[in-house]
Symmetry: C2
Subunit: 377 residues, 2 copies
């Protein structure tokens, strides 16, 4: 029997399997729900549990990093090799709220093993993944006989991801020096299936906005004035409708400029996956696939930029009819971005496009809420 590095890692894991799972279960029992102010002490206990476990694993540095909200955990383990790259693992130790009423068959904070699967809130998002990164280090050291990892290893495990990471930008800005790295690994992404190893090589960015349109200074009678003055609800609809062409490509000039297209090999690899579109539509609660022409569903959701109407509203929306030309309407749009797109440039394209399309008599305002950069390995 050969003892490759890979098989040595597997052997170590098999020997320590129960111990690893018991450790993870101890962490999963801490209800670190960042959204619930009453769980703040539990979120802190979760951070302290993790820092203690990282120290026990051998990390020379394991610190609680305070934020204006819930604490994060930072750990560092130098390889000792001045030429070694530095890898930063990102994860989060907080979880979504969970109640039996949500459909749990058992207490979501009391881990249960059923048919060889471990069920608990956070088991797959994201305590499980974070914990297996630390176990991976232990197995790597045990299998190789090393006393330090082959790369300079850093972990940054935040406590507010499930609440939208409100204090995360300030945290990484404050500690930018200590977070310097050559690569970031994020294991808070999807898994294709338990039989298919999954490496997520890119994450789309996001920018979203609200467009407010103003026409008449008040709602006016559509019999007296309709058909002779601009209607902001009509103009909001015309904007939303013009977002995509008849091939469902985003029709904002410049939107696709500079994007990194999928390679032929990537498209082949996507196409080789055993994708069950009917099953996917069930998870989407949807009844048909529809999107950018010339691309598969997987390409559309993983690797193509999109424009989506998240909300539209204007005029009378109560029961029955009301024959008005409304005074105002609004549109909420979000744009998923891929590598090569710059959020600020996309925002400017949207602003230019809106301004160019509206008729005289319609005043508008655009508010962008934020921008998340796309990334691609």
């Amino acid at each position: 029997m050969s003892t490759t590095s890979d098989s040595a890692v597997r052997a170590y894991i098999n020997v320590h399997r129960e111990e690893f799972l018991d450790d993870l279960a101890a962490w999963l029992r801490i209800p670190s729900v960042s959204a619930d102010p009453e769980r703040a002490a539990d979120v802190r206990r979760s951070a302290e549990w993790l820092a203690g476990r990282l120290t026990a694993t051998g990390f020379p540095t394991a610190e609680i990093w305070e934020t204006d909200g819930a604490p994060a955990v930072f750990a560092e383990w130098s390889s000792g090799d001045p030429t070694a790259p530095t890898v930063l693992v990102y994860g989060h130790h907080d979880v979504q709220p969970a109640a039996r009423e949500d459909g749990w068959h058992t207490d979501p904070f009391e881990p249960q093993t059923v048919d060889g699967k471990l069920y608990a809130r956070g088991a797959a998002d994201d305590k499980g993944q974070v914990f297996f990164h630390t176990l991976g280090v232990r197995a790597h050291l045990a299998a190789t006989g090393r006393t330090a990892p082959a790369v300079n290893l850093k972990l940054l495990i935040e406590g507010e991801e499930e609440s939208g990471s409100p204090n995360f930008p300030a945290l990484i800005t404050k500690h930018a020096d200590r977070l310097a790295c050559d690569a970031v690994i994020v294991s808070d992404t999807g898994m294709w299936s338990k039989d298919t190893p999954t490496v997520c090589t890119g994450m789309r960015g996001l920018t979203d906005c609200q467009i407010d349109l103003y026409g008449p200074d008040q709602d006016i009678h559509s019999g007296s004035f309709g058909g002779a003055v601009p209607n902001p609800a009509t103009e909001a609809a015309r904007l939303a409708a013009a977002l995509h062409d008849d091939e469902r490509r985003v029709a904002i000039p410049g939107f696709y400029d500079g994007i990194v297209e999928l390679t032929d090999r990537e498209r082949e690899l996507f196409a080789e996956l055993p994708f069950d579109e009917a099953g996917w539509l069930r998870t989407a609660h949807s009844h048909a696939a529809l999107g950018e022409a010339g691309h598969s569903t997987l390409e559309r959701i993983w690797a193509r930029p999109t424009a989506e109407v998240n909300g539209i509203g204007g005029g009378y929306q109560g029961p029955g009819g009301k024959t008005i030309v409304p005074s105002a309407a609004q549109l909420k749009l979000s744009f998923r971005l891929v590598a090569g797109q710059d959020a600020a440039a996309v925002q400017q394209s949207v602003r230019d496009w809106v301004a160019a399309r509206l008729p005289d008599g319609i005043r508008h305002e655009i508010t962008f809420w934020g921008a998340t950069r796309p990334c691609l390995t």
Copy 2:
């Protein structure tokens, strides 16, 4: 001094001016607000006052006609000439609610004369017009020496116009025989100016509807599924945007089929009116004119059929952003119709047009609320 029929009428009016205005003021003091259940007795008192006044004027027949709501008044005066035509005057004796807080400088139900103008709720809509029809009969008889009008005269003055005339169709169906006539005069329309006699020769019809669109069975995440499934808010917008072409003509196939176009002479007459578009825009609380290409504002609001978005809604409309693909959206549309258009045919055109434009995966329902026929003399 010549005594033409016209000048004799004027002479009679001048002599009786104060008496006429006192009579009208007495009626205007009755707060016949049909929308307010607490005013039901006042609406009835208004009907009784009018019936009494019509009898005093000489109408051989003046009846209160009951409905399931507020009472109407019917009066009849035969000319005695078997070849005379029969003219039916339609009007209403109910008024809109009025409160000092709405901007009235004085009690809206206590008539005030300022700069030669009489101010009170109902003075111009529609008690004033109805009352002057009856005064016209008195002047006509006095000036000509006749004892009966030159035409067979009928009046139908309803009590629920300001509440949408919910019982009026049943009323005229029930009394169709007694309402038989050669012409209907409606003086509940606009007046160009106090110096320009106004005859309204047509009234547009109306049909309005709600279109409900359903996509995913629940709101879904736009990052996970957006760009790959149909979005009902996008489809509602695409429908609303497709209502008009780039020339702002209604783009529903068949919509204009069979309509009675304005004659060249009518367009000339419209164009000769001293129309102050800037002033009109102020009354429309609007900042630009916009509508069907090739037609003036007056043609658009008086004589052209229109399609208007009265309301649109779907997805998230609260503060900030929410990155969803919404599960449903709705659209409220109204269509003004002109002579030659049949409401049922227009409804069918809308149904066909909607069904043909929606992609797979979007289910829809259309509800039409009603239809008012257009008319043209």
